[in-house]
């Protein structure tokens, strides 16, 4: 499968109040790749994901999935959100089954695949538990299982671990990486955490804000056999520091600019 984003720009608002949020975004994702978009809040990275997901339309440029233009959301581009990811009135199993039932799969299929994907994320024992009975990390694992069960061509993950505690976040990063390794899924990860991006993705795009644009693309070919060790490794830390410097340079007055771009991102998301 091949996802291509070409010359995409996005503005919100009309006329004088029009605000350019994304400027000439170009990226490609191929089958089996793990790609990350990193930037501070306000860099438009979430908007890129929403355009790919088909939840918004680009103002100019095109997005193609396997040579067919993306016109709206669909099960070929599954998505995992940072919060409100699960349906609170459904058990973990029913959540996982949700997409399959929407697609009209037969009962036996649904049952088998639900059990399978729950096992993939290690939650087969929590099948009948409800979201509020699950920890944050477990909830996100169910969300991932649910998105996988709908058989997408690419998984879009919008800051999936942003709401979790540090320790849980680290174990979830390992979990996601191993999942990717085992299953060969294609993933696009949005994060503001540079370390997270470098740990898991082979290709990392750095985004600058105002307007959102990709300023640097890094091929992070690293030995990822032991992620916790990798975090401490010199080459990793150097790469991280190099890119962190780049990011810092993009924000001259971090506090004030961050506050302003936070306000504008919130504004832009609610117009969606």
């Amino acid at each position: 499968m091949h996802l291509s984003v070409q010359g995409v720009s996005k503005s919100f608002g009309k006329g004088r109040d029009s605000k350019l949020v994304l400027d000439d975004i170009n990226l490609e994702i191929n089958s089996g790749e793990f790609v990350a978009l990193v930037g501070s809040s306000g860099s438009g990275k979430s908007t890129v994901m929403r355009l790919i997901a088909g939840l918004e339309q680009p103002s100019s440029g095109t997005i193609h999935m396997d040579d067919r233009p993306v016109r709206g959301p669909g099960p070929d581009r599954g998505m995992v959100f940072q919060k409100y990811s699960l349906y609170p009135w459904l058990s973990a199993a029913d959540n996982v089954a949700f997409g399959m039932r929407l697609q009209g799969r037969n009962k036996r299929d649904v049952k088998e695949r639900t059990a399978y994907y729950l096992e993939v994320v290690g939650l087969q024992d929590s099948a009948s538990r409800f979201p509020r009975q699950l920890s944050g990390g477990m909830q996100q694992r169910v969300a991932i299982a649910r998105a996988l069960a709908a058989d997408p061509k690419v998984m879009l993950l919008d800051e999936p671990f942003g709401a979790l505690d540090l320790q849980i976040r680290e174990s979830m990063q390992e979990f996601l990486y191993q999942l990717w390794e085992r299953s060969g899924l294609t993933a696009l990860l949005i994060t503001h955490d540079l370390e997270e991006a470098l740990l898991m993705a082979q290709k990392v795009h750095i985004m600058a804000p105002r307007p959102g644009r990709i300023v640097r693309t890094v091929a992070a070919t690293l030995d990822r056999s032991n992620l916790s060790a990798l975090r401490m490794e010199r080459s990793f830390l150097e790469l991280r520091e190099d890119l962190a410097g780049c990011l810092r340079g993009l924000d001259q007055e971090p506090a004030a600019l961050a506050a302003r771009s936070l306000a504008s991102t919130t504004g832009s998301s609610s117009s969606g």
Binding site: P73, M79, Y87, P88, A147, A150
Partner: protein
Amino acid sequence: MSLRRQLDQPWLLGLVGIFSLLLLWQLVAASRVVDPLFLPSPAEVLAAGAEQAQEGILVNDAVASIGRVLGGYALSILVSLPLGIAMGSNRLVCQLLEPLLGLIRYMPAPAFIPLLIIYFGLGELPKVLLIFIGTLFFNTLMIMDAVKFVPRELLESALTMGGRGLQIITKVVAPFIAPQVLDAYRINMAAAWNLVIVAELVAANEGLGKRISLAQRFLRTDEIFVGLIVIGLIGLLIDLGFRLLMRRTCRWAI
């Protein structure tokens, strides 16, 4: 159980409150500081109630009033649910209807009574319609608000799993708003119950409200108290019924 634990039971404290009020009432009535014609004692009220129950009047009246409420409120539920969902999920529909509903909501329902009688006569229909009109707009607007506040992510998850249009409404919106909808119905039922009493002041031959107005004519203050207490009790039971329904069907939200 220690005394402390016993007192912590919520229903127990409630009972103590009611019992204290009854005691206070008995004291004031017995002291005759108020003309007994206007303040009967709890015992007299109980006797009047027993008499009405025995003659079958009480049950008749309760059934008549409850029937009117159920009819009018069922109609209100049937119309407010799709209307509220439509208004909450479709910007155009909302902009079209919200100002209109907001306006009518402020018209006191009892003011509609003369019109209702002119158009629909003197039977059950105007009473049922009064309850319908008096509760429809509150129900609709509360449901609309509930729909508007469904978290975006829940909707978008469904979209990215291949869900479309009506599926989103039935499989995401409806289950999510269910507890809020039931709560809105529970709350507005109180208004329905108030309205049936008002509706019965005009051309009703039985009903709890009718019985109260007739009792006033013949200075049967004890019967007025009976009516009020029975009305309060039925209202409470209905409220508890809704809460039970919520607990059964919306476990996840409690």
